[in-house]
């Protein structure tokens, strides 16, 4: 049967049941980003600490969660842990898995962002007697954050798609609900066309948000700090070359 029904695909796109799945996907992503950032920030701090035990623990964490498939992590949390008497709801399992996994990636992003802020910035802050908190909050963090946006954006894009793995442990997000519709109606292409469209919309919207963030936080630092007069003609030339 070589047949594809565009109207069916459109009707799946506007299917209320599928739309709710989209909301779950968005919810999982947002929660995993927020949770992952908080946890990842903590792990990054440990990783940068001068205490070898703490730094080692953070390094192990990152190595472990980046070195194993998210799918296995989810299945272990969902089906493996009950064997040890630890039981969570399905959605909690998905969140725990996604956050633990995402934190490992974000920790590395956060760390490299901070490492890329030049030592001179911190030294200038010390020389001005700024407190450690003000130095962090007003000097290093804003600069590190600007550097983190591009890799952070990529990671969130991956995460958005990775939430589909939660379907395996029966979280009814976009993927799972597409499966359910498909099994009910057997219109495989039509259902997945609708799901694909949703994933594309979500990732494109995120792309646009990311670009705006980059523009917003890059506005002051786009011009470089050193020897501006000397290098201005070069910068000009490279702009023209791209135009």
């Amino acid at each position: 049967m070589s047949h594809f029904s565009p109207t069916a695909a459109v009707s799946y796109f506007f299917n209320y049941f599928l739309m709710k799945g989209v909301l779950v996907t968005i919810g999982l992503t947002v929660a995993a980003v927020v949770g992952g950032l908080v946890l990842g920030m903590g792990i990054a701090l440990l990783r940068m600490s001068s205490n070898p035990v703490l730094a080692g623990a953070a390094r192990f964490y990152i190595w472990f969660f980046r070195g194993t498939p998210l799918l296995i992590q989810l299945v272990v949390i969902y089906s493996g842990l009950p064997q040890l008497g630890i039981k969570f709801s399905v959605i909690t399992c998905a969140l725990v898995g996604l956050i633990l996994n995402e934190a490992a990636y974000l920790a590395e992003i956060v760390r490299s962002g901070f490492m890329a802020v030049s030592a001179g910035q911190r030294e200038a802050a010390w020389a001005l007697s700024l407190s450690p908190w003000v130095t962090f909050r007003r000097v290093t963090l804003p600069q590190a954050f600007r550097l983190m946006i591009p890799p952070l954006g990529n990671s969130i894009n991956s995460l958005l798609k990775a939430t589909s793995l939660a379907s395996v442990i029966s979280v009814e997000e976009l993927m799972r609900r597409s499966d359910m519709l498909m099994q009910e109606h057997f219109q495989i292409l039509e259902v997945y066309a609708a799901a694909t469209a949703y994933y594309l919309i979500l990732t494109s919207v995120w792309d646009a948000v990311q670009r705006r963030l980059e523009k917003h936080f890059g506005r002051s630092s786009a011009v470089k700090t050193r020897r501006v007069a000397a290098s201005a003609p070069v910068a000009q030339a490279s702009v023209e070359a791209r135009a």
């Binding site: 001179g120 910035q121 030294e123 010390w126 020389a127 007697s129 700024l130 470089k224 700090t225 501006v228």
Partner: protein, 263 residues
């Protein structure tokens, strides 16, 4: 221009007995990086109001020396006193010393994500609890002193190197330091911008600021310095008035250094 002195009124109000306390006193200071000795038994005394130029070949420990004075670098052995406060690695003493010292770096180290004005007001507001309007007035006062009040709303990346370095000087002065430390403030600048920065430093010197400058600008040294400190391999090899140092360098090392630098 404003009648307020660039260096504040510190010089005028110091008690006679306080004049005895040197601005900086270093006794047998050592600094090691692994096996490498960056400062090797350094003794140095700087009187209040004195202008010191530190020179010497690359790697001789000039930066390390002045960075130890405000504890950006930790010395390993020996004693350092700044305005009578001992730098003994205690938080409160480090803080007191940093409040007394301002530092200007070769690479400016302005905060690129803040405007010139914000660069200048951040420390007075957060470390000194000044109100925003007070801090702005103060910042504008010093930006006027370094002759760039019109750039206050720009970001550092929009300024020339010379302008950035003058902002860095103004930013340091906003904390009303008693001692200014300069680490090759003109080395990253194009030749045509060196002069404006040196002029600013001269003005500061005329107003009585205690200054330690690492620089290879020998014209500036001749004109401004009370004393030249020549370093080599982590040691202070020679100290003399500029006249004496340039005409009759005592050590062979200083002679070859001067030959190279004045070609």
């Amino acid at each position: 221009m404003s009648e307020t002195s660039m260096a504040g009124t510190e010089g005028a109000t110091v008690q006679p007995q306080l004049r005895e306390v040197p601005a900086v006193r270093m006794e047998a200071v050592y600094k090691h990086y692994g096996d490498f000795t960056a400062l090797n038994e350094v003794d140095l005394k700087v009187a209040k109001g004195e202008k010191i130029v530190v020179c010497g070949p690359s790697g001789s420990g000039k930066s390390t020396l002045i960075r130890c004075i405000n504890h950006i670098e930790k010395h390993d052995e020996g004693l350092i006193y700044v305005n009578g406060v001992e730098l003994d690695h205690q938080r409160k003493n480090i803080d007191a010393v940093r409040r007394d010292t301002g530092m200007v770096f070769q690479s400016f180290n302005l905060f690129p994500h803040m405007t010139v004005l914000e660069n200048c007001t951040l420390a007075p507001m957060t470390a000194n609890g000044m109100s925003e309007s007070e801090a702005k007035d103060l910042a504008m006062h010093f930006l006027t002193k370094v002759r760039i009040p019109d750039q206050a709303e720009k970001f550092p990346g929009q300024l020339s190197g010379g302008q950035q370095q003058r902002v860095a000087i103004a930013r340091a002065l906003c904390m009303r330091p008693k001692i200014m430390l300069f680490d090759e403030p003109t080395s990253a600048l194009d030749p045509e911008m060196v002069k404006e920065v040196l002029e600013t430093m001269k003005k500061l010197a005329e107003e009585g600021m205690t200054m330690l400058c690492v620089t290879h600008e020998m014209g500036f040294a001749r004109e401004v310095a009370d004393r030249i400190v020549f370093m080599n391999e982590g040691k202070v090899v020679e100290q003399a008035a500029p006249e004496e140092f340039f005409k009759h360098p005592k050590s062979e090392r200083a002679r070859t250094f001067l030959d190279q630098i004045i070609h």
